[in-house]
């Protein structure tokens, strides 16, 4: 997001404003108060005597609270302002704002304080894709409150604005006629409640009013407990401590509450993806397992609850398939978008099984694995029956919904991501290589669960046999001997899509590559064509579609590099893993300790700083999780039975790294690593 916007969030409600605290949504500014994928405030502008106050500074130390320090403009640089203006804002069950004016003059101040408000109730898809609304907006004034509403058939949404000081309602504005004595002050508390369902209107309004104003003690306590429960990290490379803390806080901010299931799971990213995403929630939970394992449990339970049951072309739903994305906005409600939920990802199902096994290996929570056995079996059935569309033994995808479904159902889901080396797009169905890796891993991991927990040895043997066959077939079909790496995909005509991409790194994470193939892939991953010096590019500079600003064809994605680094450790390439980890962590330091979703793929030698990608989400869940997986990589943390194996390999700048109180089936334990200087 551009630097002149300020965002606070709490799960799936968030506010995006300018740096004065004003909201003025337009075709170019995605300002607003958003909740459940709907914009409940599109305008919220403070003026005093008809003038916008001037920004002095912003205190945004908590993710759910911000304070804007402003002053009444005097119109001349050499004339001091005599009026301080503070806007203290928080979000928790609606928006809460306390406006305080302090008169520093020797005489009284007579002021007209005006807040212009509006609510357009735009669905996030309408904001993103500039689509017109179809229903009817209205405004009501009743007993000291301003109510904006929207209705379309039985669908209704409302925004209710109240203030602690009596306001004069003028159209869409709240106006306060204020008289402040010399050296005195005035303040008012404003409450903006968001109401999604008419039946729960009274409860939502009451909950919003009871949210303790701008202090948010519940959120504050929850954050403190979250940080206190996480392992303690210290390092002689000081930025790592800041990056780690930032990751923990951002993960807390992205926690998404599901009313059906206790706990929270990570939403994908601010501002466009504050929703349950199968792939993103699964990968983020995997990255965070050694630190906050509870995220994984909620993610698995939630995705199990909405697992596909029937064949539904509109939603790309199939029995056993794990969901891609769940939305709550108007376009979803009227089936103008298929996200109720949408199932257009071909990898989430295998990743669900991968996380289920990894979660049990870390936590020893056999009960959850036993509880989810039916869903795990259904997921495996989907892989064999629907994931492999043509019976060739590979997972391939082609959307059932050609109007609003996703063309690419792998993590690189933009339309130009699966291209040959000469830049031509590969026809569908597409079987990307990492899908085969995830499936291989899922089969081996499920075999372990079948043998050790579900008591089904025959099924375990079957799954292991399938995995061995898949590995052999994969090498035969995907390996490009003349280039020495695995094809990005097989296209609809079973041709090898021969671009060199970061996807080959995921194969190391999954373990599907044999040793010789892995060695060759590692050489490519560490080459100048793929490794920018900050991280691994999504596509190598040598390929026809490469663009350092291409979303999936040249940018660097921190989560991608973190998965690759972990894969390198798996194959014994500790030094290379440490090099990748350091590149991403040094980039994080320059991004003020918060990694964006993606950044430009320019060579590090060309710029002193990593170059931003213009529309990257930040915070974004799996970018937030990347430093966590990199810490695991550097310390070589791997559960084995009831023990935690620690096998550190640190790059030289990170001389010493200590992680205390790592939770797991062993209770709590500590890990320590330091750079070994060769004798």
């Amino acid at each position: 997001m551009p630097v002149h916007t300020v965002a606070i969030l709490s799960g799936n409600e968030f506010v995006v404003s300018d740096d004065r605290g004003d909201l003025e949504a337009s075709a170019t500014e995605s300002h607003g108060l958003f909740h459940d994928d709907t914009r409940f405030l599109s305008r919220w502008i403070l003026t005093i005597n008809g003038q916008h106050p001037t920004l002095l500074s912003i205190d945004d130390l908590a993710y759910f609270r911000v304070r804007f320090f402003l002053a009444q403009a005097t119109g001349a640089v050499y004339v001091d302002s005599h009026l301080s203006v503070q806007r203290h804002r928080s979000i928790e069950h609606g928006l809460h704002e306390e406006i305080t004016l302090i008169n520093h003059a020797h005489g009284p101040a007579e002021l007209e304080v005006r807040l212009d408000a509006a609510a357009d109730f735009a669905d996030l898809f309408e904001v993103k894709d500039k689509i017109e609304k179809r229903g009817e907006c209205y405004r009501e004034l009743e007993s000291g409150q301003l109510r904006f509403g929207y209705r379309r058939g039985t669908y209704s949404r409302q925004t209710v604005i109240t203030s602690s000081e009596p306001a004069d309602f003028q159209g869409d504005a709240l106006v306060f006629h204020v008289s402040i004595p010399a050296h005195g002050q005035w303040s008012t508390r404003l409450n903006v409640a968001t109401i999604s369902f008419a039946r729960s209107r009274a409860a939502a309004e009451a909950k919003s009013r009871q949210a303790h104003g701008v202090q948010c003690p519940e959120l504050e306590n929850s954050l403190q407990q979250w940080i206190a429960k996480a392992p303690k990290l210290s390092s002689t490379w000081a930025p790592l401590e800041q990056i780690y803390r930032r990751s923990l806080v951002d993960l807390a901010a992205l926690r998404f509450q599901n009313p059906a299931i206790p706990g929270a799971l990570p939403a994908a990213g601010l501002p466009w993806f504050m929703a349950v995403f199968g792939r993103d929630s699964l990968i983020t939970s995997f990255q965070a397992l050694p630190f906050v394992p509870e995220l994984a449990a909620t993610t698995l339970r939630t995705l199990a609850l909405i697992q596909g049951l029937v064949i539904d072309n509109f939603r790309d739903e199939e029995p056993g398939k794990i969901a891609h994305e769940l939305r709550f906005g108007e376009m979803t409600a009227f089936e103008e978008r298929p996200h109720s939920p949408y199932y257009g990802s071909a990898d989430s199902t295998a990743l669900f099984l991968v996380l289920l096994d990894e979660y049990e290996r870390w936590t020893g929570d056999r009960a959850l694995v036993a509880e989810l056995e039916p869903e795990a079996r259904a997921a495996m059935d989907w892989i064999d029956r629907y994931g492999d569309r043509d019976g060739d033994g590979f997972i391939e995808y082609e959307r059932r919904n050609p109007q609003t479904g996703l063309e690419n159902q792998c993590w690189k889901d933009s339309s130009d991501s699966i291209a040959f080396a000469d830049g031509t797009l590969a026809p569908t169905p597409r079987a990307t290589c990492e899908l085969q890796g995830y499936t291989y891993d899922a089969k081996l991991r499920s075999a372990r669960l079948a043998r050790e927990i579900w008591g089904d040895t025959a099924w375990a043997d079957h799954l292991e046999r399938q995995a061995r066959q898949l590995k052999q077939r994969f090498h035969e079909a995907f390996w490009i001997p003349e280039r020495g790496f695995f094809a990005l995909a097989l296209d609809g005509r079973k041709r090898k899509v021969d671009s060199l991409t970061s996807n080959i790194g995921h194969l190391l994470w999954s373990g599907i590559a044999n040793t010789d193939a892995a060695e060759s892939c590692v050489r490519h991953l560490m080459s100048d064509a793929l490794f920018s010096g900050w991280g691994v590019r999504t596509m190598a500079t040598s390929e026809g579609s490469f663009n350092p600003l291409g979303y999936h064809v040249g940018t660097v994605w921190p989560h991608d590099t973190s998965i690759i680094a972990w894969g390198l450790r798996r194959y014994g390439y500790g030094q290379e893993a440490a090099r990748l980890a350091l590149g991403i962590l040094e980039a994080a330091e320059l991004f003020h300790y918060r990694l964006p979703e993606a950044f430009a793929g320019y060579a590090r030698a060309a710029t002193l700083y990593p170059v931003e990608y213009p529309t990257a989400c930040s915070p974004q869940a799996w970018a937030t999780g990347a430093p966590l997986l990199l810490v695991r990589t550097l310390l070589g943390l791997e559960p084995q039975g009831k023990y935690l194996i620690i096998d550190p390999y640190l790059p030289e700048p990170i001389g010493r790294l200590e992680l205390l109180d790592i939770p797991g089936r062993w209770g709590r334990t500590d890990a320590f690593g330091r750079v070994r200087v060769p004798q």
Binding site: A260, L309, F334
Partner: protein, 79 residues
């Protein structure tokens, strides 16, 4: 009232205690559900369906009705 147990669903008079309650706004919505034409999430977002009680159980039952093979395990009742 639906009573679910031992892999069977039984329709009973709605006068007992239920683990979860699903309220539809109209008979047309109920009929649309039964025909598989109304998606449960869509119905909730449009205000045509509300769920209370054990939400996990309620969601499993409502979604399961689409296949006429509810996936919820263990005995329970949904009104």
């Amino acid at each position: 009232m639906l009573e679910i147990g031992d892999g069977a669903v039984t329709v009973k008079p709605g006068d007992g205690e239920a683990d979860a309650v699903a309220i539809c706004d109209s008979e047309e919505s109920v009929a649309a559900f039964r025909r598989g034409e109304l998606n449960p999430v869509v119905a909730i977002l449009r205000g045509q369906l509300s769920l209370t009680g054990n939400l996990v159980f309620a969601i499993k039952v409502i979604r399961g009705l689409r296949t006429l093979t509810p996936t919820a395990r263990g005995a329970g009742a949904a009104g």
